[in-house]
């Protein structure tokens, strides 16, 4: 599998990462190298082998249904570029 410049530009846009025209070229090469490398794994026959989700025997940890967190609005808003009346304030996004 290999990807072209348009695909990289599209992925960059979806991920909201700015990639300049100049960077695009080299990024295409780098990403294709990674893909080629991962592709080598397909040489191994994995028919009938169940997907492994963890290298150690582990199950999904669970929480009790108790309120144990929240209630610190100032901390939550602290790093926001702009906050007003307890809300995050962002440039108007309206459909």
């Amino acid at each position: 599998m290999s990807i072209d410049k348009d695909t990289v530009a599209k992925i960059a846009n979806l991920a909201r990462i700015e990639v300049s025209e100049k960077e695009l070229e080299s990024t295409v090469g780098e990403l294709n190298n990674i893909l080629d490398w991962v592709e080598q794994l397909s040489e191994v026959d994995t028919d009938g082998v169940e997907a492994m989700t963890s290298v150690v025997e582990a199950s999904l940890p669970r929480r009790e249904d108790k309120v144990t967190d929240g209630g610190y609005r100032d901390s939550v808003l602290k790093n926001a570029p702009q906050a007003e009346h307890g809300f995050f304030a962002v440039p108007k996004v309206i459909e």
Binding site: L14, S54, S59, R63, E64, K66, D69, G70, R73, V76
Partner: protein
């Protein structure tokens, strides 16, 4: 039953499917310990997890898992003992993670079937495709500031169940009935409060049209429809719009649309570029969700009684009519009110429950519902308390007041909120069962109407009612009708 829609070029059939988002009833959010209560000050129920601060990890709330399984069981669905959480990637101001944790390929609940009731009394089976757990997003407010959008993350991370139907509905009525049925199911199961005004339940409505028997047409999806009536309007307007469009030589675009309440129609959402490229992949922060069949069986054993079972029990044990049973069980709060009032009436009168079911159910479905309809109130806003209602029925049962007087007392209760005993006392409405007093009155009336007595004795039986009426009039409706009948007949027959 398949309904066809006539167009200029022949008949069309509609195909409808619903994706219902139902907010899970839980104290804390799906993956964090922040609270879920509605109506809190903005951003006060937000943890570092639900605001997606770097390094935070999700830990699943086991109650949300149980709630999803309960809902699946209530819909008769297959429960998947292993399911997987995926990331659905998109950017929006009220989605701090940049992705929603959802379930894509392997949902917690699989296929099932629910039965809907239609207005003509028929039923239809609608397939459920799946139910999966996912996070809700925050809330954006666009109208608070001229150039800014305000974002409140209190709802961010709250657990939602997305319930996806099969495309089995063919009419607006079926779509509305299905939405209603799912709402009733989750409310009975205690897994979602079904409160549409607060956004606890909303539907994405998929509609397409086709020539009968042909393959599915291209569908549109109208987002976030939050009332049963709006679902009906969306389906109606989309069917009409799509038929007109195709017959005019156009084609339906597969697109997302918005419902406009003011016009009752839909319009296309300004399509965000590449908005639908969600790039799902398994969330590396979460292992697969696994549980045993014993876990499911235990939840099944603890399930509350659901509407259909309740209806049968009401008919079988309480001897109430199938019609009343259906009316009372369609909405959980009505069934709850009935059972609470029934228990209160048993307490009040000491009579066995099986003797009271019919009276209590009739009183609720006719007197109370009639009054609430006039007042435009729901049963939870009833101006008459359970205690007062039980007192009223008790007064009627022990013969203190007649059925007719009970209706007058109820009207006064609605106006004043006073207890029926106080009203009966104050207005002197106690039924007169004192045979001596009634007998004296009958004698008076017979003497005053000697001519009518002659007529009656001459064979005009119908005049009996006239005499009863005279006695009731004299007592202001308070005479016990049974006693009047018993005393009047021998006197008239002379």
């Amino acid at each position: 039953m398949s309904r066809l829609y006539p167009g200029a070029t022949g008949d069309w059939e509609a195909v409808i499917g619903l994706e219902i988002h139902a907010q899970v009833i839980s104290e804390a959010k799906l993956f964090s310990g922040a609270a879920t209560a509605f109506g809190a000050e903005p951003n006060t129920q937000v943890s570092f997890v639900c605001s997606a601060q770097p390094g935070m990890l999700p830990v699943i709330n086991e109650e949300c898992v149980r709630q999803a399984v309960r809902t699946g069981l209530a819909m008769g669905c297959k429960i998947n003992l292993r399911s997987i959480f995926d990331r659905k990637n998109y950017f929006y101001a009220d989605l701090p993670q940049g992705y929603q944790i959802s379930q894509f390929k392997d949902p917690i609940v699989g296929e099932g079937v629910v039965t809907i009731d239609l207005e003509d009394g028929s039923t239809k089976e609608i397939g459920v495709e799946r139910l999966h757990l996912e996070q809700d997003a925050g809330k954006s407010m666009h109208d608070q500031h001229p150039t800014m959008t305000y974002v409140d993350l209190n709802r961010s991370g709250v657990a939602l169940m997305e319930i996806v139907s099969k495309p089995d509905m063919r009419t607006p009525e079926e779509a509305a009935a299905y939405f209603k049925k799912i709402r009733s199911i989750v409310r009975y199961a205690g897994t979602c409060d079904g409160n549409m005004e607060q956004g606890s339940m909303r539907a994405d409505v998929n509609v397409s049209v086709r020539r009968p028997g042909e393959a599915f047409g291209t569908r549109t999806e109208t987002k976030n429809v939050n009332s049963i009536r709006y679902v009906t309007q969306v389906v109606e307007s989309e069917i009409r719009r799509q038929i007109d469009l195709i017959e005019d030589g156009g084609t339906v675009n597969q697109e997302t649309r918005l419902f406009e309440v003011a016009t009752g129609t839909t319009r296309p959402m300004r399509s965000k570029e590449e908005a639908h490229d969600y790039r799902y992949f398994p969330d590396p922060d979460l292992l697969p969700l696994e549980f045993s069949q014993e876990f499911v069986d235990q939840l099944a054993k603890e399930m509350p009684e659901l509407a259909d079972a309740k209806k049968e029990r009401f008919i079988r044990d309480l001897h109430i009519t199938p019609y009343n049973a259906a009316v009372l069980t369609a909405e959980k709060e009505n069934a709850d009110y009935f059972e609470t009032l029934l228990a209160a009436t048993v307490d009040k009168t000491g009579k066995p429950i099986s003797e009271l079911g019919s009276l209590v159910s009739n009183w609720i479905t006719s007197d109370l519902f009639g009054a609430l309809k006039k007042l435009g109130k729901s049963i939870n806003e009833s101006p008459v308390s359970i205690e007062h209602a039980a007192e009223l029925l008790g007064l009627q049962l022990d013969g203190t007041i007649s059925g007719r007087i009970a209706k007058d007392v109820f009207d006064i209760m609605l106006d004043t909120g006073n207890s029926p005993e106080a009203i009966v006392e104050e207005k002197g409405l106690k039924q007169v069962s004192d045979t001596g007093a009634i007998e004296a009155m009958i004698d008076e009336i017979l003497a005053e109407n000697a001519d009518k007595v002659e007529e009656y004795r001459g064979g005009k039986d119908k005049l009996f009612g006239f005499f009863v009426g005279q006695v009731m009039k004299k007592t202001g409706g308070k005479a016990n009708p049974q006693v009047v009948n018993q005393l009047l007949r021998p006197k008239l027959d002379g």
